[in-house]
């Protein structure tokens, strides 16, 4: 299925897998060079990846077609396979305890399923305008709390850059709310033009993302009043990426962006001024694509 997803993305499966390995190693290398909390982030990323396989429906299906013994072996192999790259990075960095902890979590989660059908409701400040932030907040509130925690650490450690990282982490979490394409029904229901639709989505994205960033903003602005401009520039940059991703989501609708399109948006990370051209380009493409459903 993973190979098919790579093919659908327009990339050869073998090349895709090699690229992912290179990106993973590169990302881990950068992380360990930039922050002292890299090992925690690696454990967190590992646990998150494992939980993706712990979904209840999926495991009920597996349990229905395999014997209990076989099912447990399959789940253990799956989880260890997913945890392995993260474990290797931790071992390489000499973080033996954290590596052991990750493997332990992988084993525990192989014996349990995470039921999506939890009946208790996670309270969200974003329920007035479903769905991206309403659903996203409930899925990622731990990540948001973690970002706030990092911001507090940045103050304690006197590390302004870590504070900026915490703020950008919040923006990155908000961007993740716009990575998946919704059912066409939820676009079709909107009464208005494609421009109106995009304006509405943009208003929610920018407004709610700002709301989530405000605590970090205030904290950093009080402690580092002299660096307010730097904070502001990074904040604007983060919002610009959010806008690009939002427009990019609908620009190629109903298809997922191809490699060249992803490269176009991705290149903005390395050369942000490109956003000045990419955002209007994606906006006009979005209005065209949405015209089919909203005209």
């Amino acid at each position: 299925m993973f190979k098919r997803q790579l093919s659908a993305f327009g990339i050869h499966p073998l090349l895709g897998q090699i690229l992912i390995v290179i990106l993973f190693i590169g990302f881990a290398y950068i992380l360990f060079n930039r922050t002292q909390y890299a090992s925690y982030l690696i454990v967190l990323a590992g646990v998150y990846s494992i939980t993706l396989l712990a979904e209840s429906k999926r495991n009920t299906f597996l349990r229905s077609i395999f014997s209990l013994k076989k099912y447990r072996i399959i789940r253990l192999i799956e989880n260890i396979a997913v945890a392995l790259p993260f474990g290797i990075v931790l071992l390489f960095q000499g973080e033996f305890v954290k590596c052991g902890l990750l493997i332990l979590i992988a084993w525990i989660l192989s014996t349990n399923s995470i039921d999506n059908k939890i009946s208790y409701k996670i309270v969200t400040p974003f329920s007035r305008h479903p769905f991206e932030f309403t659903v996203g907040f409930r899925n990622t509130f731990i990540g948001i709390l973690f970002a706030y925690f990092l911001a507090i650490i940045s103050i304690k450690a006197g590390n302004f850059n870590l504070g900026i990282f915490a703020m950008l982490l919040i923006v990155a979490i908000c961007i993740s709310y716009y990575l998946e394409m919704e059912d066409d029904f939820f676009i079709w229901i909107y009464k208005g033009s494609p421009e109106g639709f995009l304006k509405y989505k943009l208003k929610i994205a920018l407004g709610y993302c700002t709301v989530l960033c405000i605590p970090i903003w205030i904290l950093l602005a009080i402690i580092y009043p002299g660096r307010l401009m730097v904070l502001f520039i990074f904040f604007l940059l983060g919002l610009s990426y959010l806008i690009a991703i939002l427009f990019g989501k609908y620009a190629y609708y109903p298809n997922q962006p191809s490699v060249s399109q992803a490269v176009l948006v991705g290149s903005c990370i390395f050369f942000p001024p490109l956003l000045l051209f990419v955002i209007p380009h994606l906006y006009f493409k979005s209005t065209k694509s949405l015209n089919v459903l909203l005209s």
Binding site: K117, S127, F185
Partner: protein, 225 residues
């Protein structure tokens, strides 16, 4: 009134709908019957504007989609969205207020529970509630009775009659012929992408017999040979 002329739809080289010509009047309930794969959902999606097609759909309501409530066969719900938030989402999309949702909770649904935890019937009831709250003029309901309990079935039947009285246009499909017989003014038979029969109340009995005459016994026997 909605007038469909020469509607054709193909997925690649596979033609699904062939030259559909239909007129739907206000204050009428139209039932569409047909086997699985006959093209009912595709026809509904074309009318709603969810699928690109050839041919024309003319309506006094422009654009039609802004006045149309579409109940999908299997309504989709996001994993962590409550029933109340789903209703808000559909009302926000039409720029309508949503202050008295509890008063208009037609099926007594647990609105503060995640909609994804609802049973099939409850999901359908939530989706029906949403399109009713949208104050639409035209309703397309794909299998509205599917998975719904008897009491709710009766409520849906009553809702349909109320909508008819309010001069709305209603199109619905169902595999339960008796429910169509009770609710509809006209029934259309769709077979392999073609409307092969259109009957009003007088012809319901004969259409039902016709549908029952399909030789299924031999197929079952072949399966167990």
């Amino acid at each position: 009134m909605i007038s469909i002329q020469k509607l054709n739809k193909a997925y690649g080289k596979t033609q699904i709908l062939f030259d559909i010509n239909l007129d739907f009047e206000r204050g009428n309930i139209y039932g569409i019957v047909g086997r699985n794969g006959a093209g009912k959902t595709t026809l509904f999606k074309c009318i709603a504007g969810l699928l690109i097609h050839t041919g024309t759909i003319i309506s006094e309501l422009q654009p039609l989609k802004n006045y149309l409530g579409y109940l999908q066969t299997e309504p989709y719900f996001f994993s962590k969205i409550t029933g109340r938030e789903y209703l808000q989402l559909l009302l926000n999309s039409r720029q309508l207020p949503w202050n008295d949702l509890d008063l208009k909770n037609l099926f007594d649904l647990p609105l503060d529970q995640y909609a994804s935890t609802y049973s099939t019937g409850m999901k359908k009831k939530l989706a029906i509630t949403a399109i009713l709250l949208q104050q639409n003029e035209v309703f397309i309901m794909d299998e509205p009775f599917n998975g719904v309990d008897i009491q709710s079935n009766i409520i849906i039947q009553q809702v349909l009659q109320k909508l008819r009285l309010l001069n709305k246009t209603i199109l619905l499909s169902s595999h339960i012929f008796s429910t169509l017989k009770d609710s509809c003014d006209h029934i259309l038979l769709l077979d392999q992408g073609r409307i092969i029969k259109s009957v009003n109340k007088d012809g319901f009995e004969s259409l039902e017999h016709e549908l029952q005459d399909v030789e299924v016994d031999k197929r079952v026997e072949k399966m167990f040979e």
